[in-house]
Subunit: 265 residues, 6 copies
């Protein structure tokens, strides 16, 4: 790949991917509205607001692939959900359509499916059940990707990221953890397979206690290597046992299912 | 029911429902941004813009049920899709939440599923495949309804309306037609069952050639009576045979799947 | 058929079937622990306690078919559930095995599945979810039937009776009603098909609002004719609207899901 | 339609369709190796052996639609199955490909699925289980149709004919009967829908006791009107009760499952 | 956990678990009707008959978790099946309900599903098919667990134990073997997850030839480590090849499917 | 096993299996129409044309197991497909039926399913979609196997071989590769399990990117050990990226889906 665009490159996952994906393209174009620091020799820094339609077109111009991490990465008021995540998603897909439809890896979220119970096993075909406005915006993005594929042939890997951190932090992450290494390996596979289509992947490591079945994405050849169970003893020893009757314990979305809706549109 | 709100009451379906649903409530509150004419004795007219958050709260106040027909009823530029349909949907659900969560019948559309083939039989659990920005906004509305049910218990009947006209107009409507009578009967059932939950119903008459299976909504007790096949001879005699290789002939969304995306946000 | 045995013939359904099934066999043998009145010319009356193993063998001797309506027909203390329904079921199947394995129609109940929600559509293959000790005894009977079929070839029609009355009595019965005529027609089909196997049938009329799908039993050729919707206006006019948040409104078992367990073994 | 070809037009079903389909096309071309009698004014008679590759090309030339009834219509030695049914099928599809790919209605048979049990409900997606060489040749034909659709876009309606007679003749036909009227109506629908694709239809009337579910072919708009149950009393009064433990009673293929294989290739 | 109760602690599996689970609780309360030997410092010995309702209440009092291994562990006459397994199960669940509903691991058995074929792959949602009275009592226990969860919230892990021995003993156990280590690890997971619900787990090691799919129980985080294939060469060299047409070879229940029913109630 | 027959023993896979399976039987009977070289001490060489019905009977006589690799192993004109593969298959099964029904491993092919997309995950129950005449003949062979099992009890392992080579050769084989070692191990399992039935197995190694799910064949105890991903770096470095819009890139059959049909019957 000649030029890879990373949006949201100043965020928690973006900063790590910036390091790990250096080998994936000759040039890595980084974008965010926060400060991105100094560009390395193989990097280009182009700040851009997702809500700026023309700016997004310029940003995408010349790129062969896009890792779309940008947008609000958690529950937020409706003005931001609509003004940033939803508008930004439409801007991105229109920009891609205007510039040769480079392949997109769309960072979706488990919160598009947060109202399934923790004792349910999900695959990629089950109906969406978002757990708030953030989840709703991720559903919208996934469906935008599907529509641009059906209508125009735009390829996307929809990655429903679980909990992407250095290590699992609580009992729920024994199921949902995605290691940085495994995510980086997934990004590689997404941009290397001959044909991607519009494919949904659960972004989760090879955890013993995972809730999600990735069989339909086998063709990517991605096999996550890390396993949250390697951290289980530490977590079970140090983290409090949650109340099993709370909604946060019952549903996959965890604390998100209990967050309030803030509507300020 | 004491007071039923109908949004979009000046639209094609709204005008008919205004007549047919008079017996459903003591007072019918009608709203639209277009002219609604004179109020009948049992009617209240309250013009309101869906994008007006406070106006929507006032509109919903005091209502026991809502028939939500408002919004752009066909493909439209992204500014209208986001500014009216998506914003309007959030305004509606927040208004309902603020005023006792009256039951909602949400007019969704077959265009939330327009990229399935015409030789596929769909049920209510299959993944969404919108055929444009309009379809995308309907998906968003359906998922908003689901989220408000999962999170707050707000009840909604999501009705994926096929083609709601006096009679079927072309060969595709032999599958998709929904008669006015059948729709009115559905509205009655939705507001009369003891418990509704968040239920998806295909808004289609009892057409021999229907593509959609409503078994999961049986509990409503709705049995459509009309059948587009009664109009088949006329239509097959007068309507041209479409090109069977066109995308409009292949996919359920028909001409919608070929409409361009206009992005003006 | 030469001789049909009806157990529980003094019960609510038993008394009606005694009248309606006279033509099904040359001799109808009636059994119950309650008084059965005078025998008609084509009838034999043989009182028998289901818990009496030897008595049951005598009762079944010489019969070509069995309509097993006997046992506690509602929630009951565990001593009766075990002592009558469970013991009686084992006695019946052993008696049948000892006497040529006459075909059995086993009156099971919707309460074997009472903890599904009222907005769920069930078929015959879904896991059992009994709503109390009575439902549990019906599950046990169904599984006994299955085991005797798998092991010995004993044929049974397992009929999960909904609400078998002269007419539907409340809103829930708009879904669950089984008319006497439809049940009698089902009994006829069960004893007339060449091969029955071990087949589960939902005992429900052709109600618009039914929750249950009988497709897997199509081969019997039973098509119920009555429809609780014909009684809907009366019921919706006269019966109070239940609290939609009560468990009795949420689950198919209705009031049974709220009944206490009485354990006196 | 200008010219419809009927192969096997001298056979049992062919003779009836010759009468009933006169209105379907301006010219009906009839073919068989048996005598076809006099041509009516709207008819052309062209005898042809299915095994004659060039003859088949000539036969198909100029036709807009093909009703393919030709071939051995029951169990036969392997030389005939391969030499007539399999070879004939390949000849037909190559002839169609050479002449503009006119739409084909392929007469397949329930015997492609004869080893399912009579208490199983089948749909069009279940794995094939042929009950002999004849059934095997029908499977081959169905798969040829599928391959020519996938590879070249050739449209076919695969019709798995049950028992197509004036009236049902035995207890098994209470499930499998297809009336002449219903079959003729199906032929009409197949040639009138705008897009057919490669669609499997169970050729069965609206029998109470049918084993087959046609939902996936709803889009054709075919609703069979006849019901073998109207003949049930006569059949149950006059036909002997079969031995329920025989394979012919257990499996859908009936007596075919017990026929020997004759291998003379 | 403060106090874990093990019923059936003198049985084959119970004796091993007594050793392996010492670390799981501060106090392990052991119960059986057979002799349990000396109590270790961390142990309490409380003999109890499962059929003794009051005794069972006393036994459960003060326990935080229950490993229910008690009852007849193989085919038995109906008087014992009803008097011990069924009655004992009701006694246990009532005792648990009376004492704070401690979590239960219920030892069910593959014999609840013994009449599936050995070439079928099962998951936890398939209909039960018990292979005798013992299997029937296990079905009853599973459904009791489900009912107490649906009705009262009582949590249970239903473990369908395959063949729990030191090592696999015959060819069938290449599929069904559960090692002691793997079972002990499962017990740990069951009592350590924050929320259990009512979950069915196939109690089987990670055998190459296993028949059972545990995906729906992934959330427990249990990954069995042993594999019967490590014993395959020995078994295939020393164990006779069974008759492949015997029912014991065809069905998963093995020899159980051929055992007689002894009815002595 | 006393005597194993290998047909097609001079072919690409046959030559390797001849070496690897020497230990599987006392005598290995090798057959082909091509030269088979010298017989080793444990070998018998019996040239035979698959189309020779009597020759095939003689060939099978005395064998306890058959590895059927013979026939055209790629796309071919219809005369060869019918004359060799289809006729040969019937000859083989009739020969087996005449001689005690020795167990058969039938080499089928992924090309029986070639028209599924590469982003679809298949299991053994999905409808066949052959990608040409070769694929069609493999479907025919699979269904012949099924029919001989249903009708006569003949056991077969239907192995849908992916790409069986020393190592994967192109990007598509990252999904489809079957190593020689894994295939040989599968042959061993097929002939060693007590009961085989008629079972479909995907012949594919444990490749990260495999498209096929073998769960339903778990009972064989076959666990492939090789993984095409071990060759991924080499292949991705040396093999050209295919055009992602070509049918060969979209469908599982790869180049086969684009091969012409040659009809010369």
């Amino acid at each position: 790949m000649h030029r890879l665009l990373i949006t949201g490159a100043a965020g928690g996952i973006g900063r790590i991917m910036r390091q790990k994906l250096a080998s994936l393209a000759t040039i890595v174009r980084l974008s965010d509205i926060s400060d991105l620091g100094e560009a390395a020799p193989h990097e280009e820094i182009m700040p851009c607001d997702l809500a700026d339609s023309q700016g997004m077109r310029d940003l995408v111009d010349g790129c062969d692939g896009i890792l779309h991490l940008g947008g609000m990465a958690g529950e937020a008021p409706s003005s931001q959900i609509v003004g940033i995540n939803i508008t930004g998603c439409l801007n991105l897909y229109e920009a891609a359509r205007a510039h040769g439809m480079p392949r997109i890896l769309l960072a979706s979220s488990q919160h598009a499916m947060g109202f399934y119970r923790q004792d349910e096993q999900l695959d990629a075909t089950m109906p969406m059940r978002p757990d708030g406005l953030y989840g709703l915006s991720k559903c919208f993005s996934e469906l935008t990707a599907q529509m641009y594929f059906d209508k125009f042939g735009q390829e996307t890997a929809i990655v429903r990221i679980g909990s992407c951190f250095e290590a699992p932090r609580d009992r729920r992450m024994l199921a949902t953890w995605l290691s940085y290494e495994d995510f980086a390996a997934l990004v590689h596979r997404v941009f290397k397979v001959p044909r991607l289509g519009c494919t949904t992947v659960w972004g989760v490591s090879n955890n013993d206690a995972r809730w999600w079945d990735n069989r339909t994405a086998n063709f990517l050849g991605w096999q996550p290597k890390d396993n949250a169970a390697d951290h289980r003893d530490r977590i079970e020893a140090t983290q409090p046992m949650p109340d099993r009757t709370s909604r946060a314990s019952i549903y996959q979305g965890g604390p998100f299912v209990e967050k309030p809706i803030v509507h300020d549109l």
